[in-house]
Amino acid sequence: MTGTDDIKLTELKNFMADIKKRERSESQLIAILHKAQELYGYLGNDIMDEIAVTMNIPTAHIWGVATFYHYFNLKPKGKHAISVCLGTACYVKGATQILETIKKELKITIGETTQDRLFTLEETRCLGTCGLAPVMMIDNKVYGNLTPKKVVEILHSLAHEHEQEQQAKA
């Protein structure tokens, strides 16, 4: 573990310490898992163990909760999280084609991360931006009125951006 992991752990512990001051603190498990995922990007076994001990909640229970809710990642994610909306409005406007395009382009399917850890692909429930259907969200940015061609352009430009960042660092 590195120094930043120290900082993350302290922040998580402080968060839990605050929560324990309130009554029925074990009911805040989902909020704690959200916090842990915010800090680490995903929920690792050792983090869940840490939560189990601090909050006195059995790990089998935490595992059950973490695997139940789709929001929680149990594996590390790529740099860019792509969420393709398959809500009704988007579906009717061709969202499956968008999804297939991405699958073909990145050679991964839903739930997977590209080899170079650049993209993770997920599908999502309705994002509420039905006026722009079909829609995908990459990180926190919404891309709407998509066509397969536009999607490929967007992916390429992000990959290019990443390459340039890497070169700048090198």
Binding site: L9, A52, T59, A60, W63
Partner: protein, 590 residues
Amino acid sequence: MKKVKITINDKPYEVDDGQTIMQAADKLGFHIPRLCYHPKLSIEGACRVCIVQVEGMRNYVASCAYPVSDGMKIQTNTEEIRQARRDIVELILDNHPEDCHTCERDGICELQRLAHLTGMRHRHFEGEKKHYDKDLSSPSVVRDPNKCVLCGRCVRLCSEVQNVHALGHAHRGFRTAVMPAYNMPFSESVCTACGQCINVCPTAAFVEKNFTQELYPKMSDKSLIKIAQVAPSVRAAIGEAFGLEPGRTMELQTVAALRRLGFDYVFDTQFSADLTIMEEASEFLERLQGKGKLPMITSCSSAWMKCVEQFHPDLLENISTCKSPMSMMGAIIRTYFAEKIKKRPEEIVSVAVMCCTAKKYEAARPELMVNGLPAVDMVITTREIAWMIKSAGIDFVNIKGEHFDEPLGLSSGAGTIFGTTGGVMEAALRTAYELYTGETLMDIEIQDIRGLKGIKVGKIVMDGKEIRVAVAHGLGNASKLLDEVRRDPEKYHFIEIMGCPGGCIGGGGQPYAGSNSIPLDEECLKKRAEALYGLDRNKTIRRSHQNPDVQRIYKEFLGRPLSATAHRILHTHYQAKKPCGIIPRELQVR
């Protein structure tokens, strides 16, 4: 109790208010088919097998959860509800392997019975089947998620009754499965190996680790001496595997059957139970005089020991250092008895026939080895031995009974009642009293600590000194009792804990409940307990210290209780363990 008028299948009945449809129906003799419901566990309403039609409700209603009310009209057997129930069972079976004939529970499976009752003769809906790997990691319990019907009984039992929380539901929807945290190998989890999940599971999703195939080659090896020991609880329940009523003792038949299977010597764990009492009562009296921590807590239950090491390491000093009767017998066989028959210990195959799955875990503990060899080579459950007997064609019910071998076969009544909750405590007090006061305890049956109440308390007065005792069975009750002890360490002097509800007679290795009964049935447990109490009553020697063979072994070999030899062979130590679970590995900080 207020009454309400209902009809079931168009016939009128008057029933008590404040109960569910299923409870009312059961009392009236309507046994509505069910799967996830169990009277000792919280109500889930998950399986939907117990659905019935209630007039005025558009949808079917789960009878295990829905309360009766005045004027309710219930249908349990119309064509429509029969088809619905049949379809639901088929949907459950859709993800179940079709391998009844090679399954452990062929013929004694709740799911099989259910499928048969609903009249399924043709499959309509077939599709994707889930596939999982079997988990063979634990020495005690084998987990096969392919056979799981997601009734959730094991999860509820492990959490609500045992308070161990080793299992939980994970994932969602079609991918839902029952597993330990992180889907880790069962042996690495907090599972205490009590095997109650096996008892309560309606299918073969949980079964004990079967050692019969390993045993057979040993049985036919003429160069080995095959020695069996039999736990008290086995004789009280083995008859059920042969269709007999619970509570019929089959001690003599068990001995005879074991000899016919090829065992050279058949000893009685009740003998070493007497030995345990000698050591434990003496240890208790020492602590009473200030040479150790009080309250002292018994340690014969292996599931309980795993539980202590994991969850209650702060109480390790309170635990008695005595080994369990099974391990003591194993140790004595490897030393005292081997010498007596002039054989090397390696030439002996020491097999324990137990009611318990955790004993399989115990037999593998390195701390219990004797001179480099395991004290017990193999633990076979009541179910496994019943199968071996049937498989060998032995007419168990009718064979002529035989007695245990000397010198490790004679036991007092105290040793006999070891199998039931409160029995160890009663046996210990019968001896402790005499060792302390020099007098015999006349009120030999201590009723306060008998029975199925979760936590029982009692007291005896020894020479004016009041000794307060407590007994808990089931790890959930143990947990509650220990919280009391932490709050008030002076509340009790001596505590008995058994990991399984009912004590060892309810162990994870006992015969499955029959088709007219349910797992963990209290009536059945009471009858098994009564069988042991009955044996105790009919014995002339009812106190461990009066067992002449026990006296002899001290004279010839051990010296006296708590001697150096006794400590070396009959005592052990425990330490805090940290499996993946509530107590995590230390997080390394650099």
